[in-house]
Symmetry: C2
Amino acid sequence: LALSEPELSRLSHQGEALLTRSESLLVSQMMRDTPFLVVDRQRLERNLCAMHEHATTIGVSLRPHAKTHKSPDIARLQLQHGAVGLTVATVGEAECMVELAACTDLFIAFPLWAVGLRAQRLCALARKARLRVGVDSVDAVQRLAAAVGAGGADAAPLAVAVEIDCGHHRSGVPPERAAEIASAAIALGLVVDGVFTFPGHSYAAGMRERAAADEVVALKTARDLLVAAGIPCPVVSGGSTPSVAFVSSSSSVLTEIRPGVFCFGDAQQFELGSIAASDIALTAHATVVSRRDGVAIVDAGSKILGADRPAYASGFGRVLDCLEARIVALSEHHATIHFGSAEVPALGSVLRIVPNHVCNAVNLVDELVVRGAADESVWRVAARGKNV
Amino acid sequence: LALSEPELSRLSHQGEALLTRSESLLVSQMMRDTPFLVVDRQRLERNLCAMHEHATTIGVSLRPHAKTHKSPDIARLQLQHGAVGLTVATVGEAECMVELAACTDLFIAFPLWAVGLRAQRLCALARKARLRVGVDSVDAVQRLAAAVGAGGADAAPLAVAVEIDCGHHRSGVPPERAAEIASAAIALGLVVDGVFTFPGHSYAAGMRERAAADEVVALKTARDLLVAAGIPCPVVSGGSTPSVAFVSSSSSVLTEIRPGVFCFGDAQQFELGSIAASDIALTAHATVVSRRDGVAIVDAGSKILGADRPAYASGFGRVLDCLEARIVALSEHHATIHFGSAEVPALGSVLRIVPNHVCNAVNLVDELVVRGAADESVWRVAARGKNV
């Protein structure tokens, strides 16, 4: 349902009180300047439920990664659905989720180097919520222990988990080094929760199942070595949105999964095969501002979609309303879309663009427009830009 | 100059009043949590002067693109150096630069589709500052004319420039269509300033000179057709940071150039050959949080550097302190750096990372840390996220 331009203009100049509820909603929707990010609330809820069901089925805890949405509203929904806590990437995200989502159990799944202000902030936060931090070196463990005064009478409680490299080759140690780092942490007075990994090599064509298998092997080796060294290992944490479907109760050692993107989905997940187009819950609404034969330019570029463009991707995102179209180029405020044999939308049309990587898209805006069946709300991206 | 960790800890817990000025500066610099963006003020000023000298030498006006810095402080410096006004990409950027940089002459170099709130905001802005907007269709011209009430007694003054495609194949019309669109604008009561193009195909290996030549040919054709149709064409506007060095007074028809990136430079410009490493004025300061043979991981990822990775690039940015290193992968909060035969920096070292595309990096932060020879200020990225 839409209004003609003259009708919109007439209604938008009328007092709000003179409009019916549905007219008012329509006017506010049509007056919103593109580009902006829209969350389909029904799809969001469906995605949350599906992941919780999966976690329950395979018998693991779900600790969703809040870096994707950076939204206390969505964090609260996740906790209500039964998440045991949240995963975050930075102290700033953790601070935000403690303050605004009342989250009391957080895993900063990043090898923090705790010096300067960061050390002071971490210590303060560890007194407010249960905190676990990733480690992959004895040096980092020493800084963390110093930051919270571990071993002292007034120490702030802090747990760590040893990061294992299972094939992504980013941070993390080989499984064989897990016990060395865990022992150092215990010696310095920290709690060791266990081990974790990020099977990020699931983000490549055809690699989802293989990454999930690598994850199991690496985590099992690390856990067994900890236990053999007399170190209990209650937490064995893994999981990424592309790989998590291949985690099963029979084959797995995992006790916890940490997917993030699943709440919204994005063009990467669609092209990797881990989400259906009909489940994608976040799009950028963008206006056709220029067109020629076979081509339209919309006003959403890398400053709202992000510039991610992995090797396996078909382009810089997808057009939800025309999956055969290809986004062949992205400037900061333009997407160049080739429609092939499909009809090129008229100037002024609003298209729904799926970003390649939704985490980076969300981090570009201050607000998400959340549309339900018959209503619209605005949710704050409160942890946007919290890089430290 | 740096402090040891115990010394930093001791000084940071001392009262500010007990520190000397240089101790205080050092403590505040060392206590700042990474990652953050730092502007080298001397290099910034040098880059601004160099571009103004170039514009003067070739006899064109300089209208720098503010999308790069989104900073009223830098906009004011550019206007003080003699810029005739600013270029921006959105109404929101224009509003910001009018309000906070007291800019009175703006070119929104984008084919705006002026409906809804955008139309109302554009009209209000056109009463506060001299405003020029890009157009590439008669339909868009009609919306703009309606937005400002063109032709009516109470019209807000608005100028347009016709966008020409000179080879980048984004928005813009072929030169042959310039007069058709300019005529429509005049018939509807808008002012036509002239023609413009963005030679964006300069952003490809070895294409800088060719793009500058294409720009001249396309703009000359369009201008001559306008003049032949009896339409004056005082403004012939072009220029991108990679191509602008190839604009000369003898060969060119340009009256105005609109580079943006030149104020900072970035890894793209360095690799395209349009800036020396010693002139790069903006870096992300990032800490080594993980290391292994030949590899270091720093805590700057796509959420502070942006995810741009053009085909010609050597990686996801460059390490200013070690140009032989390669940033082979980027996650949201990790950069994976291969050092080859160079020494891998110690854990906790702070490295200066040059983003591939500085415009997208700046748009991820709220503040720039600006360091002079002996002082430090913080400048607001006031137009961050102004996508509409």
